[in-house]
Amino acid sequence: MIKKTRLIIQLLFFILFSLVIYKIVDSQKVISFFHSFHFLNHLSLLAWVVIPTFFLWSLISLIHPLFIGRIYCSYICPVGFIQDILSLIKLKKIKKKRGYFPYIPAFILGITLYLWFLGKSWYGIFDHYSNFIRLITINHSYGTIIVFIFITLLLFSIFFPRFFCHTICPSGTIYSFLQKKSLYKIKINESCNGCKLCEKSCPTLAIKDQKIHNKSCIYCFECFDACPTKAFTLKRTKIFKKRDKSKKIKTDRRLFFKQFFSFAIGSGFSALSIKQIPIPKKTDSVIPPGGNSFTQFIEKCTFCGQCIAICPTGVLENSKSTNGIYGKFRPIMNYNTKFCSFECNACLSVCPTGALTYYPLKHRQSIKMGTARIDKKTCIPYAKKRDCAACAEHCPTGAVDMHKDQQYKHMVPKVADDYCIGCGACQQICPTTPLKSIIIEPQSIHTFAHNPKKKKRAASEVEGIDRIKKMNDFPF
């Protein structure tokens, strides 16, 4: 009974998170709420001394194993669901073993926490929720090596149940440490008759010889159902209990130090690696709106790929070679064939770490991501002395405009820098080949553009418009 109920609850959460990722709901608050279930991404803003939305809920998600064990892992986590389904595959002649390997989780946690506290988002490689998003949105962009490694690690679950959770997932490792001091613990009482039915029913093979391995147990409570003598109980532990000093302290202490050293080596490794990566001063490509500044964006983005998946025009891409190793995998705008739709703010509303800060549409329409620059050597009106104006046609703010010029007899395009928001509509439509004649120069720090309604017009033009207004009869 518990097994079936758990499967249904897991399936519901899996569907729910997938729908949220695909922005089935329009409300940014709802999306943010469902992101807050996964604390590692959501609370990463704390490194920037910013309190994220739904902070309390995310905090509860972090500390709940102190009360009832890591039920997030067994009932809510979508990655856990995938692994549980894969574990159902039974292969002949291969015996399943516990998915816990000592020292590796502490090492990975060391890397993760070091980066997390310093606000460097490379831990996104290990974070389970970022990986889940990449998996769900695989058709959009991240067919990269990260997703394939993740899929391989998930497939390990066929041989080692919940391998990813016990060995890699940093949230899982944190939960396993917190769970040790849980207020309510699963205990086996005296009515146990040694039938070992619980060992077969446990999805993570945590039970052996009437003992529950704390690091492997995910508090799914399936053992409660499986035991014929009802030997499993949820026992409330005494908070301040006098420790029995005679019991195996030496091995405990040794194990603790070994774990601690793995953790320290992980942190040290990250510290040295971060030092090796040169921080570029300027960005080569336009960063998405809401990114605020290049350095901040790179350090907050866990390259989950959700913004890329949700973008309606497909202008966002993961940077393969721009911005070097520092900017690797982060999304940038590619204006050569696509542009940023003026009436859209989808990417800002789905970012789970706040790398793209959410702003309402009107605010985001004034964010200046870059400035258009015209190359007079190849631009058709300048170079070929013919009409073109494709850029001015598409500019949503009127920053690119056609002007009469004494030198060139035709109307030529000019950019009013202060009104340009760098959306790339002009670059995308420019017909010159092989290179575009109008290209957006990125801004490393986003500023704001002038209000397009305030743009001044020539006196002759104003007079002409007046004449049209006053004409009441048919002019033909």
Binding site: P312, T313, S341, F342, E343, I380, R386, D387, C388, A389, A390, A392, E393, H394, C395, P396, T397, G398, D401, M402, M411, I429, C430, P431, T432, T433, P452, K453, K455, R457, E461, G464, I465, R467, I468, K469, M471, F474, P475, F476
Partner: protein
């Protein structure tokens, strides 16, 4: 004597059968070259205009397929004047289906994202409500590469199959000023039926527009001048860019309709290169004198 009178009477009665042919041989009462309507809603003005031309039945026969080609290029609402008014498109679709058309299709190869343009312009809802069919312009496989013989600049183009195969084409543009070509109305609206527009901008914009204008006879041109965009065209930056004129121009001669519309924007045909080029290529006339013009005022 009886035989002669019989033959006279027989001859007289048989000749009455030929009187319908006689009426055709006589000089006919000519239909209007151009109809201008003002002072109503877009659909009211169209109803008055099409009635003065003899009704939609004169242009759409029973069982024919119709393409209604509005301007749906921009992700803008009707109040911002960048696309054709949805009421006008809806009314045209309704009249075509009432005249007995087998299928009325509407599409545009949009500049902004298609699903936003189709929805926010209000045109998709208006078309579906009146029994028409919205077609996508975003699939390259719907376009056929056609060799355009005799052209100097636009030697071939990928043209949408609806433009090539439909029995009747009704061109319904919106009148706007245009950053590149000074004005956009009927002739410029046809740019929305080809796949690769960049080629036109790159090669010679005005000449390509003019050469394409004679590719196929447009059965009816209805120019929506309910709102006209007077600056920042063709997309417009805000509702400040449009003026409410409440006018409409209908004609079977696309060039003539454009000439009349240019006057609404206080421009002459000579100011607009592609317009005079189209006349030279034989698409139509820019001479409004000596033309039969009907002016209807609804207010």
């Amino acid at each position: 004597m009886k035989r002669r009178t019989f033959i006279k009477y027989a001859f007289a009665s048989i000749s009455t059968l030929f009187t319908p042919l006689l009426s055709k041989a006589l000089p006919q009462k000519k239909s209007y070259d151009l109809v201008g309507i003002k002072g109503g809603s877009p659909s009211q003005m169209f109803q008055a205009g099409i009635n003065s031309l003899g009704g939609m039945g004169k242009f759409v026969k029973k069982g024919q397929t119709v393409l209604v080609k509005p301007n749906i290029g921009w992700n803008r609402t009707p109040g911002e004047g960048a696309n054709t008014q949805p009421d006008l498109v809806g009314e045209i679709v309704k009249q075509c289906t009432q005249a007995g058309a087998k299928e009325v299709s509407v599409f545009d190869h949009t500049c902004n994202t298609e699903k936003f343009c189709y929805h926010n312009s209000g045109i998709k809802d208006a078309v579906l409500k009146n029994g028409g069919k919205m077609y996508s312009g975003d699939n390259e496989s719907d376009y056929r590469k056609i060799d355009l013989k005799g052209n100097k600049y636009l030697k071939n183009a990928q043209i949408h199959k609806l433009f090539l195969d439909s029995d009747v084409i009704i061109n319904v543009p919106v009148l706007k000023n245009h950053a590149g070509t000074r004005m956009t109305a009927g002739i410029k609206n046809l740019m929305g039926v080809v796949w690769d527009r960049r080629f036109w901008h790159k090669t010679d914009l005005h000449n390509c527009i003019a050469e394409f204008s004679k590719m196929r006879k447009i059965d009816l041109t209805v120019i929506d001048a309910y709102t006209v965009m007077v600056k920042n065209g063709p997309r417009g930056v805000s509702a400040d860019d449009i003026i409410l004129k409440r006018m409409q121009v209908i004609s079977t001669d696309m060039v003539l309709a454009d000439t009349a519309s240019a006057k609404i924007l206080n421009m002459k045909a000579v100011d607009i290169p592609y317009l005079t080029m189209s006349e030279k290529k034989g698409t139509g006339s820019t001479n409004l004198k000596n033309k039969k013009i009907k002016r209807i005022s609804l207010s």
